[in-house]
Each structure stands twice: as structure tokens, then as C-alpha cells.
């Protein structure tokens, strides 16, 4: 049995505590680093134990006496395990201020491929996992009358496109779920932020045929952390994708049907 986080609360020294789901690589890993840099204590969750432990060890090496990153191995498709694990983590951290759902995956599908197994995996990872984690966060934060929920979605959720039906659906579902949480929880003092990155230089990018405006995960994480601090609601990362999103959302169907992106 490994040692618990064992964070001691002190009245005049408040600690910010976060859970990042999907922390072993990409935006999740960069955001974990960014949050630790901003003084958070972070429970970092991912399926891949090796990467996760390496990330936390590297972060804690800066201050071995006061570690701030704590690894928890978890497969987000195992949503039955979430309630107990959520309680364990929050007990270990001694509280919770922020939950970031950053787990996401995309499988390449060809233009005439209809593969239920592939689509289901994406929807399970990108959407159902988020529902399982953020429902827990919603219950807790509404009882605490404060807290912050962040979902790392994608600009890909703004429309259904020919190249990625399953991925688009998972992200559109996540957007709608986050919006519903926001509407439920705003009156309870809880903030819900939807992050819609454009192209970020992560493993997911290999499925994108044409890319432009690519930013590093570190740049994305910095912008996301700033959006969290400002308690924003829907944020495109970087911001110029907001204009793209606006245009894409308003392309009439008779034109969209004829496009092949």
C-alpha cells in the first residue's frame, strides 16, 4: 500500500486542490504541471502507470519535502470505480477545489468506415468517463457551495463532420453535458468551464489530416489555467479558434454537406 497524500490543513494557509483525469500525456500532463506550478496540490489520474509515475516524480523532485503531485491509476471506461475512488482521492487531498476532465482519445476512421467498436471507445472515454467524474464533482461542489469543474472538450464538438462522427459526437455530448452542469450549478456557486482547443501538438493530432495554428500542450495548459483563474465559461484555445467556431457553427447544411473536412 502506498503512502497517502496526507495534506495538513492550516487555518491561515489555504491550499488549492485539484483532480486532473487523463494526466499522463498531452494537455492533461501539461495542465498538471501548470497547476502544480501555480501552487495546486494535484491528484493526477491516468491508465498508463509508467508515464503517470514519471510525471509525478518529476514534479515532486523540485520539492521532495512538499510533494504536490500524487498519481492514481484509473481507466476512465471503468465508471463503476469512480464514486469510491473519488472519495478516496478527496480524503487523501483533504479537500477539493477543482476537477479537470482531460481524458480524451481519437481513433482514425476512413470516410466510408462505420465501426461501432471504435466509436464506442471514443464515446466511453471522452463522454461517459466525463459524466462519471463530473457527476461526482457536481454533488460535492453543490454541497460545498463552491468549486470549479473543467471539461477539456474540442472545437471538433461544434459540428458533425465527415471525417470523425464518433469523435465529434463525444465532444458535442461533452459540450452539452458541461452546459447543463453549468446551468444546474451556477446558482450553487459552482463554476463550469468548457475548454475547446483547436490543434494542439499531442498524440491526437496524428489523426488530423491538415493542421494549422498548432500550439504546444504547454501553451494550451497556460491558457487553460488562465481561463480557470478567470472563472470563464466557454473558452477556445487559442482564442482565434473562437472565430473559426463561430463560422463553422453557422455554415448552412446545404454547404456543409458538400465540404469534405
Amino acid at each position: 500500500m502506498s503512502k497517502k497524500a496526507n495534506i495538513v490543513s492550516k487555518p491561515l494557509q489555504p491550499i488549492k486542490r485539484a483532480i486532473v483525469v487523463g494526466a499522463s500525456s498531452g494537455i492533461g500532463a501539461a495542465l498538471t504541471r501548470e497547476l502544480v506550478g501555480r501552487g495546486y496540490v494535484v491528484a493526477a489520474l491516468a491508465r498508463r502507470e509508467g508515464e503517470l509515475n514519471a510525471l509525478c516524480a518529476a514534479l515532486n523532485a523540485y520539492s521532495p519535502d512538499t510533494p504536490r503531485a500524487f498519481p492514481y491509476v484509473h481507466d476512465v471506461t471503468n465508471s463503476d470505480a469512480v464514486p469510491a475512488l473519488f472519495q478516496t482521492i478527496v480524503q487523501d487531498l483533504g479537500g477539493l477545489d477543482l476537477v479537470v476532465y482531460a481524458a480524451g482519445m481519437q481513433t482514425a476512421v476512413s470516410l466510408d468506415e462505420y465501426d461501432t467498436a471504435k466509436d464506442k471507445t471514443m464515446i466511453d472515454t471522452n463522454l461517459i468517463g466525463a459524466v462519471a467524474w463530473l457527476n461526482q464533482a457536481a454533488v460535492r461542489f453543490s454541497r460545498a457551495r463552491r468549486g470549479h469543474i473543467v471539461g477539456i472538450s474540442s472545437i471538433a464538438g461544434d459540428r458533425g463532420r465527415v471525417g470523425a462522427p464518433g469523435y465529434n459526437t463525444s465532444k458535442a455530448g461533452l459540450n452539452t453535458f458541461l452546459e447543463a452542469l453549468r446551468n444546474r450549478l451556477a446558482k450553487k456557486g459552482v463554476t463550469v468551464t468548457t475548454i475547446k482547443p483547436g490543434f494542439v501538438d499531442t498524440a491526437l493530432l496524428k489523426n488530423a489530416p491538415k493542421t494549422f495554428w498548432v500550439i504546444s500542450p504547454e501553451e494550451a495548459a497556460q491558457q487553460i489555467a488562465a481561463a480557470i483563474q478567470q472563472k470563464r465559461q466557454v473558452v477556445y484555445v487559442p482564442a482565434r479558434w473562437g472565430l473559426v467556431g463561430l463560422i463553422i457553427r453557422h455554415i448552412p447544411s446545404f454547404i456543409f454537406r458538400r465540404l469534405n473536412f
Binding site: 500500500m1 502506498s2 503512502k3 497517502k4 497524500a5 496526507n6 495534506i7 495538513v8 490543513s9 492550516k10 487555518p11 491561515l12 494557509q13 489555504p14 491550499i15 496540490v41 502507470e49 503517470l52 509515475n53 509525478c56 516524480a57 515532486n60 521532495p64 519535502d65 512538499t66 510533494p67 504536490r68 503531485a69 500524487f70 498519481p71 492514481y72 491509476v73 484509473h74 481507466d75 471503468n78 470505480a81 464514486p83 469510491a84 475512488l85 472519495q87 478516496t88 478527496v90 480524503q91 487523501d92 487531498l93 483533504g94 479537500g95 454533488v139 460535492r140 454541497r143 460545498a144 457551495r145
Partner: protein, 490 residues
Amino acid sequence: MIEKSAKPSTNSRKTAVPSPTLPDEHLEIVSGWGESTRGMSYVYRPSTLEALANVFETARRTGRTVAMRGGGNSYGDAFMNDENIVLDLRRMNRVLDWDPGNGRIRVEPGMSIHELWQYVIEDGWWPPVVTGTSKTTIGGCAGMNVHGKNSWRKGTIGDHILEFDLMLPSGEIIPCSRTENSDIFHAAIGGMGMLGCFTSLTLKMTRIYSGYLQVHTQAQPDLAGMFDYFHGYVDESDYIVGWMDAFAGGAALGRGDVHRAYYLPEGADPNPSQSLRLENQHVPENLFGIVPKSIMWLGMRPFMNNVGTKLINTAKYYAGQVTGGKVYPQTHAAFHFLLDYVPHWKKAYGPGGLIQYQPFVPKDKAPAAFAEILRVSQAFGQPNYLTVFKRHRPDDFLLSHALDGFSMAMDFRITPDNRHQILKLTRALDEIVLAANGRFYFAKDSTVRPEVARAYLGEEAITQFRALKARCDPDNILQSNLWRRVFGAA
């Protein structure tokens, strides 16, 4: 800040063995009375011994720790236990036995001082020690070993507890008194709920012959005047409390008002059966008969800054000078429960809340130490808003704040911007207090560090307490934020 003992897990925690969960409906915000800190805990409110034992069982089964909460009036983190269980004992508030002939009462731990004095006063008795609010519970008062405005004369509340029963986390109930399990008796009183849960406590009440106290007020121009007054009157009066204007500097450093009060001797009140009646003791609900007191804090809110409070303190001092020397009768309830006069007054401090810093200093070193404390606070630009001055005597409990000397309770307003500064200030003040062989009081505390506790309690007392805790609570189930902060989880 993170405790140094915290180490990163070398291996990630597996999800294969999920720990049993606690129901969300028990999850509540738990905040120290000063509201400068808050957390979430699973709160249980048992009403029977069986339900109480079940809470310990639940804790064991789910790998949680348990802290005790009475009235929830400790300023800091004494009853907080973030993400673990808080046992709120207020439903266990029954009188188990009362003898109006000799004033012995046996009560459950959740009975409040309010319920207690109301229960005994019409028989001509009053609790020997009461806190400045009547919302504290007897169990909480015993756990924190509280004192009142008669502390130098009657000591701490522990001095008036004849015996108690203590439920250990195992569910076993052990009787404790000065003759039976006396080591546990002297450690559980003032033991912050870390040895077990009081299930009944027996106290001796004080005989009174009138529903009134005779109260004298006197303004004092400086700190020396304050000390002189206390020295002059401690032998004859039953209660003395001083209020200080912490904004006044220079020659006026430590100026303020003193109230002293006397019980009326038998026969002095021509109609005690009338003055002892409950309706005679009730504190009025409205100010000037018009303004509901429940909203008075709103009117105080604009003054809760350095300028506003300086104005009020100055006005209060000169008002005290004008009315000084006044003698008047006041009911017991009105004299004692000053904090209850303005409900929610703490809200006037704003969302950041307040902390209290109350050092206790031996009588010969107190004048210099308190002058230094006031000066240093002013130099930090953080004068405290409410300063209360009291005289004390030592007691024989293991973890005690009591000593033969004086205490000065200081309220500091907390904001997100001044937190760091207040922390630095209290660390500077700790040095002054420790150099004067002073002590601290966990009911009020938010800032004591492990090394400060070791310095004033002594290694030996702490080792003894830990040994008793290991005996009473071998699984270390009883913990609180305060316990972990000052004594560590191990």
C-alpha cells in the same frame, strides 16, 4: 503549505480495492467559529449511545478519522476534520440527573450552557464557569477546558467536573474521576476530544441568591491602570473582565474599560424568587425595542476596518470614561453572554472571517509582554478589533492553557490580502509569549505550530498525552485539523 512528513507515493494507488464510501447526504461544510477557514466533513448527529458507537464503527470500516463538535464555537480548527467524520453531539443534550439540594447535575455532552443555566437557575444555582457565549456545550467546554470571567477565582471548567463517562473508539465506556482513571480524567479534560467521547458529565453548580449581579464599570487610561485595577479588585470581586482599545498608542497604550461583578449575598435581594425566574433573565430581542438584533451586524459592517473600528473604540473609551464608576444590577445572562447580544456579529468581519489570538502570560511578566504585543501589532499595521483582558489561575490538567497570570484575547479580521501578514504577526507574537513563559488556548487557536506547543506544554506532557491516546485510541481514529496541525497525525 504541506506538512513535511508528507511523502509522494512511490507507487500509484490501485483502484482494485475501492474503499467503502460514505453517503453524500452527510457531507456538510464545517467551518471554525471564526469562519476564517472551512472544509467539508461527513457529519453525524447521534442521539443514543448505540448510534454513537456506530459512528466509530463506520469510521473504522471506511478508514476515516473522527473529530468531536459541540456548539461549534471554537474559533479555529478544533472541531474541523476535513474529508473525515465530525461527530456533532448537540442531540445528546439530556439532563440525566439533577439534585437541586446540593447542585450536582449529570448531563449528556451536547447540553448547551444555555440549556444548563435555564435548567438550574430557578432552583437558585448557576454554572460555576460559563463562556462568553451560551451556545457552547458542556462536552465541548470540557474537551477544550474553557474558562470564564472568574477564571482566577474558580479556575477552568475542569475544576468543577466531578466525574465523567468516556466512550472510547472501541465502544467501551469508562468512568473517570479524580480517583478512578485519574490520568485519563486529567487528560481528557482539555484533551480536544482526542481520547474519547464524553457520554455523561457530572458538575457542581454554584449557589446564587439573586438573579442579579452587582456590576461596577471603570475606564482605565492605560495598560498600567488596567493591571492596577485587576490587582486591586481580584481578592474581593467574583468576576472581572477588561476591554482594551488596541488602536490607542503612546501614553494611552492599553487603555480601556473594566467591568467587575459581585454575587449578591443571601438576603440582599428582597425578592430572589422573582429575579431568578427565566423571564427576568431573558436578553431582549430588539435594540431600543425597535431594531431586531438579528440584523444589527449589518450596521456594524461598515465600521469593521482600521478607521471605523478606531473610531468606535475611541468613542467606546470616552463613553466608558463618562459613565465610569457606575454601579448597576445586571442579570447573570446579560452580564455573561455578551457575545450573544448581537447575533451573527462575526458576519460584520466580512467573508474572510476572523481569528483570535489569546496568549496567557504569568502575572509578573504580563505587563511588559502585553505592552510589547500591542506595540508589535500596531507596528504591523494590524491592530486587533476587540481585545479582552482576564485574570487566571493554574489548574492540574495535562494540556492546559491555565496559569497564574493574565490573558489578552485579540480578534483579528482576516482578508485574502492580510492573511500572510497576520501569520507573520502571530509568529512574532509567539516569540514574545514564549519568552515570557506564556501559554496558548486551543479553543481560540488558529496559528500555534508544533514547536510552539512543545515549548509551552513541554515534551513530557505531550509524551504522556500521546501514551494515553495510544491506550484509549490505539487505531488513532480520533483526529481533527487542530490535532494534525499541532501534534501531527502519527
